[in-house]
Amino acid sequence: MLLEAVGLRAAYGQSKVLHGIDFTVRKGGVTALLGANGAGKTTTLRAICGMVRTEGELRFEGQRIDGRPTEAIVASGIAHVPDGRGTFMELSVEENMRLGAYTRRDRGVAADFDRMFTMFPKLRQRYRQQAGTLSGGEQQMLAIARALLLRPRLLLLDEPSFGLAPLIVQEIFEIMRRINEADGVSILVVEQNASMALAVADHAYLLETGRIVLSGPAADIRRDESVRRAYLGY
């Protein structure tokens, strides 16, 4: 298992958000985390990166990562595209991308920049531009490029479709599939757009008010009566 959580709890101050959840992310897989607003999806991703106070165990490639500082967890190979995309608005697109590769010392960075430009041609056009001037879709692509430049083994995506036009959503999910298949990056994606997420994922968890209520292969979840009614809307 690439990532493994056992009895994971998380809280913001006094309010508890996760009440002890277990989940795993398979190496090479795409795992989806579904649920309504406020179910604790974003908190789960934040917990993995040490951005909230947690209890319970988190293992990445067999090593405990819970309790470690965010920057150390990130450096160990987990990239996180946060909700709101985390763009450095005041910096240029180029600088945003350079920051993505901040932890790397190897010589492959330049080649990776080129790969990003092939994957996201828009970023090449806007290379010198201030990132705050990009459109929502472009910022999402920049965020994914920034995350990939870290050369992660696990990519955490928080609502990549949020606030984007359907065509761009299609494109983003297509890119997700490519990252997973061609580059072998495992993905844990949080989505409200359940049908989209289930189309790319091979495994899924359903989160309700801080507890996992359903888990299994994506295909089974798709067929589940209650999920269909509540989250897929048909």
Binding site: C49, M51, P69, T70, E71, V74, A75, A79, H80, P82, G86, T87, F88, M89, E90, L91, E95, R98, L99, G100, Y102, T103, R146, L150
Partner: protein
Amino acid sequence: MDGLLHQVFSGLATGGIYASVALALVMIYQATHHVNFAQGEMAMFSTYIALTLIQAGVPYWWAFAITLVVSFAIGAVIQRVLMTPMANAPVLASVGIFIGLLLMFNSCAGWFFGYTLKPFPSPFGEGKPMLAGYLSRHELGSTAVTLAVLLSVWAFFRFTRLGLAMRAAAYNPASSRLVGVNVDRMLALGWGLAAAIGAIAGMMVAHVVFLEPNMMSGVLLYAFAGALLGGITSPMGAVIGGFVVGVLENLGGAYVVGAELKLSLALVIIVAVLVIKPSGLFGRTIVSRV
């Protein structure tokens, strides 16, 4: 006309000092949204360290370098020990700590080194005035040093990986952690750097105004004025603002209000900026951060 040009040139020379301190203020402001009221006193204290070294027989530029290192360390330690625990405290607490630091540096300097005015050497020698008599050797030399400092700070932030990470940590700490930047370390670095820049300003101005514990209180005021004039959110603006304030101060002192009211000019500039263009020439307005 000749007199006017002379005033402008020597205004630029002192303006460089103000620009340095303004830059130090803006660096800390950008990273933490706090204004370090102790910046001037820290610089003054650093200058005493340099003087002590020089009097002990250390050659000037060695003393200069050692002072920078020590000042950097003092700045970084202050950030670590005092500011980190106060990161989420109300503004009043952080302002209080800055004022506490101001008091401590000021009185420790008086305690250790006395309150008498002390001459501070110039590495550029006394000699004849340069540039057709418009600038003294020290003015010319200190302007060159200031410009070199400002240029290297700019290059550091613009071109190096560490400089980029520091800017990122200042703008967006959460995202910076997510790309692997150690934000606390960047803050400590920023404080250290600001302290070192301030120390250079202190060593350059001490030759002109003589060293004493209250040497920097006026300089700090002009630096505030410069930072506000340029826009407290813009390092480049702060530098330009510092130079402009230096020239305004000299011209105003010579032709308008007289030397004994020079300090009030800083106050007038501050109020004028707030009334006419609160964001400064190059900055963004701060949305009420109470």
